[in-house]
């Protein structure tokens, strides 16, 4: 590609993140600076990174040549690609990898990621482990996505399984991935594309180019065909080019962003999760037993994931449960990003934290009360939901008791440990919960279980005491990437001379 000369760390020591076009670095003349969230208000502080921005036409131009990715990936077997993923996982977890013209160590990566996204370093490290697991155990992950398909079948395009002829056709040369900044764990969702012989056109979240870029470099260093890797930090218009031009894409965003692509079968939508824990009469009677599970569901990973519960829907005892959960979560405090005990991620700014807090306060009343402020005060803390540490602003865990499932806060979701506890009659639970990425159902009631199993609203269903945030990798997650990328079709192949 033209003009791809390496530019190392700027003279000022700021990291430089280029585009990746067909596996090669390209330094755009348009860059965006990523500030260190801990140095806000310090006008003189230098940014953590300058991120090259792709003009939309550049993205469009590259995507028009997706045939190169297809040819390069078709030349390798799924088994070989799985081996590349495994090597890439090792490199991602342990090695220095290219970053612009410089090298990035694991410590650099964690420090940079933490500084621009506000995620505590220890949490970033845990997410790194999740992402590594998916690369390392790609065969298991693909087994889960394909429900045990003999993967060599994808090399040949067809074959036999269980005595039946079976064939899959790839739906796209490239997978577009328009990604969020909330948590690096999310990148485990698109990684299987390479092993499934589909190239990547990645648009990272604005604050979190770090993980996808490092993954791209790890894949390239592990022998992934260069033509299969595209990395394009870009504008909304550039993202639209990816979604319009890739035969298949993943789109992460808020309800409005994903809404405008609803109904386009090429785009798998990942909007708010609205994940929930549901308790029937029996479970609600013994709610203290489930406090650990509830707290983990709400607050794991800083409450930043779509699989974090934003609702607890219970057939009874809602007020007592909400009070108990508020007391439990009040133990979580704002801490410095490099504190190993840190359990909250920093918000983008003091103003953003305050605005979100005000937004919540403005919706209280009408049967909705915040029980966390009182719980914090009871522990000798401050009533304020906004807290500061390490130069960053945080929102403290917030438990709202909602008398009605129709209250606006009953179906709210925010980027911090926020949960509404709602009381709904047991017979109504399955009907009322609404769209939910994950539902953990604490019930032995056969009727409720059957209703939830049949529910079109529930994407992932945990029957029994499993936190919503607990993911098993041998099962599809948030839509099935394999069925998004491949379509089953009929194929008959008989030898010549056997004409009927």
């Amino acid at each position: 590609m033209a003009g791809g000369g390496a530019v190392a760390l700027g003279a000022d020591g700021v990291a430089t993140i280029p585009l990746v076009r067909g596996g090669e670095s390209y330094h755009s003349l348009t860059t965006v600076e990523l500030p260190d969230l801990r140095r806000q208000g310090h006008k003189t502080s230098s940014p953590v990174a300058r991120v090259s921005q792709a003009n939309p036409g550049l993205v469009a131009r590259d995507l028009a040549r997706s045939g190169a990715a297809r040819q390069a990936l078709e030349a390798l077997s799924v088994a070989e690609l799985i081996a590349i993923c495994k090597r890439a996982g090792e490199l991602f977890l342990n090695d220095d990898l290219p970053l612009g013209g410089a090298r990035q160590s694991v410590d650099d990566y964690l420090r940079q990621l933490s500084a621009t996204t506000g995620m505590p370093r220890a949490m970033a490290r845990a997410n790194m482990g999740k992402v590594h697991y998916v690369l390392d155990q790609m065969a298991t992950v693909l087994g889960g996505l394909t429900r045990g398909l003999d993967l060599s079948l994808l090399d040949r395009g067809y074959g036999e399984q269980g005595g039946r002829a079976i064939s899959y056709r790839r739906q796209s040369d490239l997978l577009g991935a328009v990604l969020p900044s909330n948590s690096p764990g999310v990148h485990s969702l698109w990684l299987p594309a390479i092993a499934l012989k589909v190239g990547l056109a990645i648009k990272p979240g604005r604050q979190e180019p770090w993980t996808p870029y490092r993954l791209a470099q790890a894949l390239l260093a592990a022998g992934c065909p260069r033509a299969a890797i595209g990395f394009y930090p870009t504008s909304h218009a550039g993202a639209a080019e990816i979604l319009q031009r890739c035969g298949r894409s993943l789109l992460f965003g808020d309800a409005k962003t994903v809404g405008s692509w609803a109904g386009d079968e090429r785009v798998q939508l990942h909007g708010p999760g609205w994940s929930k824990v549901v308790l029937d009469e029996e479970a609600a009677a013994e709610w203290p037993v489930y406090l650990d599970l509830l707290a983990a569901s709400v607050a794991d990973n800083g409450g930043r994931s779509c699989i974090n519960a934003s609702g607890v829907w219970t057939a009874r005892n809602s007020r007592a449960l909400a009070t108990g959960l508020a007391e439990r979560l009040a133990a979580i405090e704002a801490r410095a990003l490099d504190d190993p005990q840190a359990a909250l991620a920093a918000m983008a700014s003091r103003e953003a934290a305050q605005a979100l807090s005000d937004y919540i306060d403005a919706r209280l009343g009408g049967g909705a009360v915040d029980l966390s402020a009182e719980a914090r005060v009871a522990r000798g803390g401050n009533a304020s939901r906004v807290a500061e540490a390490d130069g960053c602003a945080f929102l403290l865990p917030t438990v709202i008791h909602c008398e009605s499932p129709d209250h606006p806060l009953a179906q709210a979701e925010f980027l911090f440990p926020f949960v509404s506890v709602v009381e709904v009659a047991g017979s109504e639970l399955a009907r009322r919960i609404g769209a939910s990425l994950v539902v953990t159902a604490l019930t032995r009631d056969p009727e409720l279980r059957a209703d939830l199993i049949a529910s079109p609203f529930v994407e992932r269903l945990n029957l029994g005491p499993i936190p919503t945030s607990h993911v098993t990798w041998d099962q599809p997650h948030e839509g099935n990437l394999f069925s998004h990328l491949y379509r089953q079709r009929a194929l008959q192949d008989v030898p010549f001379g056997a004409v009927a």
């Binding site: 003349l29 348009t30 921005q53 003009n55 036409g57 469009a60 131009r61 979604l243 409005k256 405008s260």
Partner: protein, 296 residues
């Protein structure tokens, strides 16, 4: 003149000496609110005749025809490009595009409709380019140039010079155009508007490999100053960022100290244009969240 001043008949603003001339009225883009209207008698022709002098006859051959692919409607642009073509001995073919409709489609998230509309516009352009070998020169916008280049090689279709306008054009686009979209074709970025006329860009020097776009106003008909957005009495230093403040004075129109919606860095005079210019022109950062530009 600004909207709201338009209650009296527009003729009131025409200098007495020109009162018997045919009067045009053109609208600005309207990206910052209500479109503003400007009366015009011959200015747009003069502006484009002067601009014509800066075009090389190698890349924009005299006597060749033009394709004008961009917004027409109530704007000056259509008539201006047509006049430019006529002035250079050719004709201009036109394809219309309605940017205000595109803006609405963006607002509603109608990606599919937008793609169809773009295709509709590009199809018309391709028909003209394929039917008329005489077309050697092109006016278009960055987005439409990208869309066109996706379908055809403009060089193979005989295009020798491209004149491209739009404030969303930045150094990266300039480089992308020269390196990848239209290598070997003369590419001239311009900054024009209804109030000022047409600013010329500092000629590109391949040896310097500097894609920064610097515009110089058509002095003495129009000048701009780069001023402190917080204190428009203060002119910023060379290299410092400021808001564009435009003053236009022609025999038919006087508009003093008009604050544009754009900002950039104050640039030093060059030999070709020995007066102040502006580099890296872009939408004023304080407006950039509320205004959609460059949709076409």
């Amino acid at each position: 003149m600004a909207a709201g001043w338009s209650d009296p008949p527009l003729g009131r603003w025409v200098p007495k000496g020109l009162a018997d001339q045919p009067l045009y009225v053109f609208e600005t883009g309207g990206s910052t609110g209500l479109p503003k209207s400007r009366i015009n008698i011959r200015d747009f022709q003069t502006d484009y005749e002067l601009f014509s002098e800066t075009l090389s006859c190698d890349s924009f051959p005299r006597g060749s025809d033009w394709l004008m692919l961009g917004p027409t409607g109530p704007r000056r642009l259509r008539l201006a490009i047509e006049h430019l073509a006529q002035h250079r001995g050719g004709v201009a073919f036109h394809v219309d595009l309605d940017p205000r409709w595109v803006n609405k489609l963006i607002g509603r998230g109608e990606h599919h409709e937008m793609a169809l509309y773009k295709e509709h516009v590009i199809d018309q352009a391709l028909k003209i380019l394929r039917a008329h070998d005489s077309v050697r020169c092109l006016f278009t916008t960055p987005k439409l140039l990208e869309a066109l280049c996706e379908k055809v090689s403009l060089g193979k279709l005989g295009i020798e010079g491209i004149f491209c306008g739009g404030t969303e054009m930045n150094a990266q686009f300039h480089r992308f155009a020269r390196e990848e979209l239209v290598p070997g074709i003369e590419f001239i970025p311009t900054y024009g508007n209804t109030l000022m006329g047409l600013a010329c860009s500092k000629p590109f020097d391949p040896a310097a490999n500097d894609y920064t776009i610097t515009y110089y106003p058509p002095a003495p008909r129009a000048v701009f100053e780069l001023v402190d957005p917080e204190n428009t009495e203060r002119r910023v230093d060379y290299g410092e960022t400021g808001r564009v403040m435009l003053t236009t004075l022609t025999p038919e129109f006087f508009m003093p100290r008009f604050l544009e919606r754009d900002e950039g860095e104050r640039a030093e005079p060059i030999e070709l244009y020995p007066w102040d210019g502006v580099s890296n022109l872009r939408l004023l950062s304080q407006l950039s969240t509320s205004v959609v530009v460059g949709v076409y």
